[in-house]
Symmetry: C2
Subunit: 326 residues, 2 copies
């Protein structure tokens, strides 16, 4: 399978590493909107191309993995590229997924291509676990907790405050809430009761730290509804201790079965990830494999993780997975 990467940031680099772990795949190349000469990749057998030239390579690429941002890139890129390529993205603006699905489906279907959107861990593996758990336990309650992990969006929001040089924000699940859910108590939890926000901020020498802390803690939508802790540290400390992009979280469903619903069950799925983009990339790669198998059986149009039979994700034959994993 020849894979191409469209967009070479953290996610694109993660996809490149993931391809090396899967011997049925090969990197054809990286497409970038930057000057190709300025982009250095880690695969000697592959090349860097100008994004604008991609149609020239239409017959050289089995699946194109689009590594753009969900805010402005993917809503345009994925439908446009689905007209000429089999594509996959990690579009993660939950509220806009139905529209994105419709746009990508139209482009892919008209041109007999296959596409898969919103692969990753949330949306992605967390969505799958919500679906499985809901199907198994119809009488129950869902919980999703995120963290401990770096939220890029919240870190960016802090960086936009006057006097802030750099910042890193961790989203943390509240342990007592998590434990209550695990005990099957089915609590009703407010936003504040589920997560806290932990901020590490580098301020300029002359900045008023009190004002910065106040601006963070009262920022609507991002911080105002949470218990937020602000720590001021030096740039050196930030670079030394907070340069990673870890993340993770928990999807839990508690439900009841049996006579008078007297028996409780807890289904829990959790991820603890050193690198958010590398894990997302690893998910993208196996769904890329799956859509190629589906395409070879004549399937076209837009798919989601819900539409992929798990067997199609594996490098192993059906016989092998039945024997070794069932």
């Amino acid at each position: 399978m020849k894979i191409a990467i469209y967009g070479y940031g953290n996610l694109g680099r993660g996809v490149e590493y993931a391809i090396k772990q899967n011997d049925d795949m090969e990197l054809f190349g990286v497409f970038t909107r930057r000057d190709p000469a300025s982009v250095k990749i880690n695969t000697s057998s592959a090349k860097v191309y100008r994004a604008d030239d991609i149609l020239k390579y239409k017959n050289d690429i089995d699946v194109l993995i689009i590594c753009g941002g969900s805010a402005t890139d993917l809503p345009k890129m994925t439908p446009a590229l689905a007209a000429d390529f089999n594509v996959i993205d990690s579009f993660d603006t939950h509220a806009d997924i139905p529209t994105h699905f419709a746009n990508v489906d139209k482009a892919a279907r008209e041109n007999k291509n296959i596409a898969l959107i919103s692969a990753g861990w949330d949306p992605g593996m967390f969505s799958l676990n919500r679906l499985y758990a809901n199907a198994i336990l119809p009488d129950g309650k869902d919980y999703t907790f995120w963290g401990k992990g770096v939220s890029q969006g919240h870190s960016d929001a802090i960086r936009r405050i006057d006097g802030v040089i750099d910042a890193r924000q961790y989203t943390c699940p509240v342990d007592t809430a998590l434990e209550s859910v695990r005990r099957g108590e089915s609590p009703e939890l407010t936003t504040r009761q589920k997560h806290t926000r932990l901020c590490f901020v580098v301020a300029s020498d002359d900045a008023n730290k009190e004002r910065i802390e106040n601006e963070i803690k009262t920022m609507p939508k991002y911080f105002a509804d949470y218990d937020t802790t602000v720590n001021f540290i030096t740039k050196e400390e930030l670079d030394k201790n907070h340069s990673g992009i870890p993340h993770g979280g928990f999807v839990i469903r508690s439900g009841k079965t049996g006579e008078n619903n007297s028996n409780s069950h807890i289904i829990e799925y959790s991820l603890k990830l050193d690198s958010n983009p590398e894990f997302t990339a690893s998910v993208l790669i196996c769904f890329a494999r799956a859509i190629m198998k589906m395409k070879s059986r004549g399937d076209v149009g837009c798919k989601t993780v819900f539409d992929v039979a798990p067997a199609d994700l594996s490098r192993l034959s059906h016989q092998e997975i039945v024997k070794t994993l069932l």
Copy 2:
């Protein structure tokens, strides 16, 4: 969807309760090898039939859920019934699954029926999680821990010892092993290091408890390779404190990604079940729904949980799951 239950023990009763939680399903009836007059069910709109009469109802049943034992019942029942019905079972003898698959596939395919074997939680949801995690993290290590939960097989083994009136055996994961795995330490674990066995035994008044304890602890395959604790209790205590059939466990994969495999990831799936048979029944029910959807698209033959696109498990439309669960 009209469901019939074949075999009415703990699992069959669990299926009956699960049907009540799913408004797109209806219980047609229960088929039993006992005298139907002696079997009382919990669904007033359904009837109890003789197992031998089942062919008379061939056109009344959409899916037949076979609730027999894996040791002797299912290897014969499922292929035989797959010739005339769409069927699903929870066959759980891991080593014999490939043979069972082949037998069921032949019978179902020749008669254009669909069948799904080995649904439940292990095999079943645990298998799915092994497959997803292996596909995402090719460079990694798998761990499955069971418990804390009642092992019917081990309880039965104790009951066969001379002087034992009743017994209940709990399989327990070793916490320190579990924690090491969760920290990503990828330990090599022996059988003894992964699980302990906790036994509650009711002995007859004149029995030699020391001999019984010794026979349990040295029993090959069942107990000899484990640290086993034996507690003698009264029949009243057993009935009061150990009448449930709880179970559960953990499927964990740790894996590495990125430059020099420097980033670690932990994927964990866990179940905490008050009732092993009722949870298994709930899994069977949603896979029964899925195979009906697959059949309506022309699919026939034997399937496993690996072959079912998750969307097919849900009562909700594709549009709804994309909107609410993705």
